[in-house]
Every structure is written in C-alpha cells, then in structure tokens.
Symmetry: C2
Subunit: 241 residues, 2 copies
Amino acid sequence: MTAPAEGTPDDEADRERRAAGPFDAAARAAVYRAIESRRDVRNEFLPDPVSDEILARLLKAAHCAPSVGLSQPWSFILVRSAEKRAEVAGIVARRNEEAANMFDGERAAQYRRLKLEGIEAAPLNICVVADRSRGGPVVLGRTHQDDVDLYSTVCAVQNFWLAARAEGIGVGWVSIFEPDDLKPAFGLPEHVCVVAYLCVGHVERLHVRPELEARRWGERLPLADVVFDERWGAGAEMFNR
Amino acid sequence: MTAPAEGTPDDEADRERRAAGPFDAAARAAVYRAIESRRDVRNEFLPDPVSDEILARLLKAAHCAPSVGLSQPWSFILVRSAEKRAEVAGIVARRNEEAANMFDGERAAQYRRLKLEGIEAAPLNICVVADRSRGGPVVLGRTHQDDVDLYSTVCAVQNFWLAARAEGIGVGWVSIFEPDDLKPAFGLPEHVCVVAYLCVGHVERLHVRPELEARRWGERLPLADVVFDERWGAGAEMFNR
C-alpha cells in the first residue's frame, strides 16, 4: 500500500481511521487508573500554589468536554484571594448548619464530625458556571431538554477532575449552598448559573477508598445492582454468563 | 527509612501518599489523549457487538464516578433489541422534526442535513437514568441543590465515554426528546428520570475535530474567553503572563 500524499482526502480518512482505534494496554491502564483513583478531596490540600502550566492543561482538558450543539456553555472563575474564599466559606458554613439539622440523632452528630470542604485550605477555588444564553436562543440538541447545557458543564468538571488526578492535583466539589447564594460574590448576571464550586490544590495523600465509605457514612453498591437489560428492574444477563 | 510492615497504619498512610502523586509522562499523555480525542459519534458505528468484557470495564468506569453523598444514583439500561431501538428512533424522529422547525431558513435546512443519532446503527444503546430516591430522603451534599444527583449521573456518563475512547468504542449522546418520552418504553417509575441516551459501538473512524465544527455548524471558543479571575467577566491574568 502506498502512503497517501499529505493533505489529500485519503490522508484525512487515514487520520480518522487511526483516531478511532483502541489505545495500547499501558495507555488504557492509565485512563482507568485516573478514573479509579480520582477522589473528592476535603482534608488533604497543601498550601503550594498550582502553577499556570498545570492549570492551563487542566482548563484545556475541561474545555475539550462534549457540549450540546457545540455551545460550550461553561466558564471558569479562578478564585485565589483569601478574602473571597473566606466569604464563600462563611456562606457554606451557614448552609452546612442547616444541613446538619436535616439529619436525625446519631446521623446528625456523625455529619457534624465530617469535614466537608477545603475552601480555605486549597490555594485555588474554581466557581464553574454555565452561561445559559451561550449558543443563541435555539441550541441544537437542547430543543427538548433545557438543562443539557448544565450537563455539558458537568462533563467539563469531570474532565478537569480526571486530568487533575493525572497531574497529582486534588479536587473537591462543594455543593452545600443554594446556587443563587454565590451570585453576588462573583457578580453573576441573571443568565449565568453556578454548576459546581471546586477546591483545587496539590495533595500529600489521597484516600484509597472513597472517604465517605472509609468513614462508614455509606457503602459502594455492587455494579450488577445498577445495570438492567431492556427495562427498569430487569437484572442484566452479562453478569450471569 | 525502613519500610513499614504490611497492614499497619503506616502501610495505609504509605499507600495514600503513593496514591496522590502525579502520573509519569506517558500515563499523563494517555489521559489527555482520551480527553482530547473523544468524539460524539453519530455516523461511524459498525454493527459488531461490544463484548461483555469491554462493556463490563466501561460500566465499572462509570460506576467509579463521584456521587453526591456517595448516593450512586445512576442505573444503566442496556438496550440491544432491534424493536426497542426502533421505538426510540421513532420518538426521536418526531422530536427532531419539531426541532428543525425551531431554526430559521438556511439554518433549518442545514439542521435537516445533519444526521444526529446512531440509535439503529449502533448495536448497543444505553438509557442512563437517575433514581432520585437513592440514598434516602436526605442526601449529604444534596440538601440545598436538588439536582446534584443528576450531575453525579452525568459524571458517570463522562467516565464511560472516556473509557470507551481508550477501548476504541464510540459513544453518541442523543438528547432530542423530552425526558418523559422514554419512560413508558423502559418502564421507568415516577422517581426515576432519564439523564442521557447513549449509542455505543465499535467505530471505523473518528472525526479529528468535533463534527459540528467540521460541518461548520459552530466554532470552538478560545480557552481564554471562558476563564476569569475572581469575578464574572474579568479576563484571567494567566493568559497574559
């Protein structure tokens, strides 16, 4: 077979075929390692700053996420100032007290013992928002589900988180606030909504199991319990073959 | 330094320190390759079935996603029957005609020329749902944002998608339907909601750029346009240093 000339349609088709194949075993293992060892970090942040070089790679990874109709609805507000982080920590502390009161007895006491965020310990916070007007008034793929732009933004968060794992950077997602609580602090206009608030920094260690499992707050479900064939509730054959 | 004995607390601390470090250059590159070369597939599916071995690895990757309060709200309904796929394709075709009518003039004509789903071409579809009752009436981290369980489920989708890329499996996310449209087809109870409908299969080629960019439906934004410092709209210094 002769190699096609540069820039010809054959060359493009050839690149597309190469782009489709499976990774080799080592590269596949690296992807699974990132997925399996990623953790939600609250307690293990170091004060060392995250370099611009690493942060640019993580943001680029986030920006590679799939987005409905290529609308790329996400924006990332980098929060490094101690004053701003203290302001957010105060909002979350008030909401956290409300949250603790929603649990009963021993569970409430256990909740209060958990440290659930690293807002002030992490040197970098990122307020991840969705601009709901981006892509114009009608977005391909968003015509019948208005919230898929929020889902695209979540895909960007997960890309960021996995790339961070590969870089040795820890990430914690804080959700103990009403989304509108943070709008004044970041000057968000009406059409922009908070999807995730992330704490980001180097870490000295990472839990081997999810922290809420290690602390006996909950247990991981067997995979076979969450996979069905054809209909809700019909156990999947693939686990019985 | 002496190596700690197996199974001692020192051993655990040592494992946690090792778990936190950055990957080596080749493993980091593999993670970024999955993130950057992942595509939304509509046209390139092959009819070959996805093996149980590969599918189990992809589902396990999805099941490793972060979830609010460790609630693991996701379930995966595997759809292989041609009849069920044809039923869903019919629902989507009707909604797609409504969608085309929402665009004006040339844009509507362009929309109609795009093939937006591979429901019948892909040998496997997965209806990804969230059980909104999972984790009980009060879920840690979901006390002030009811929809974060849907976001957890999206994280599972993104894990699945990236693992699929590493395995040479293509994935397309279809969203051109009202979420309740699919409830009868899959027997979903009231408290279970559709988050994503995925087309899954081997692919012979993969677009090098996002397909909607290649077909000039839209353009990718510069990263610097979506990153701010401290407040909405304040351009990030990191891109000017």
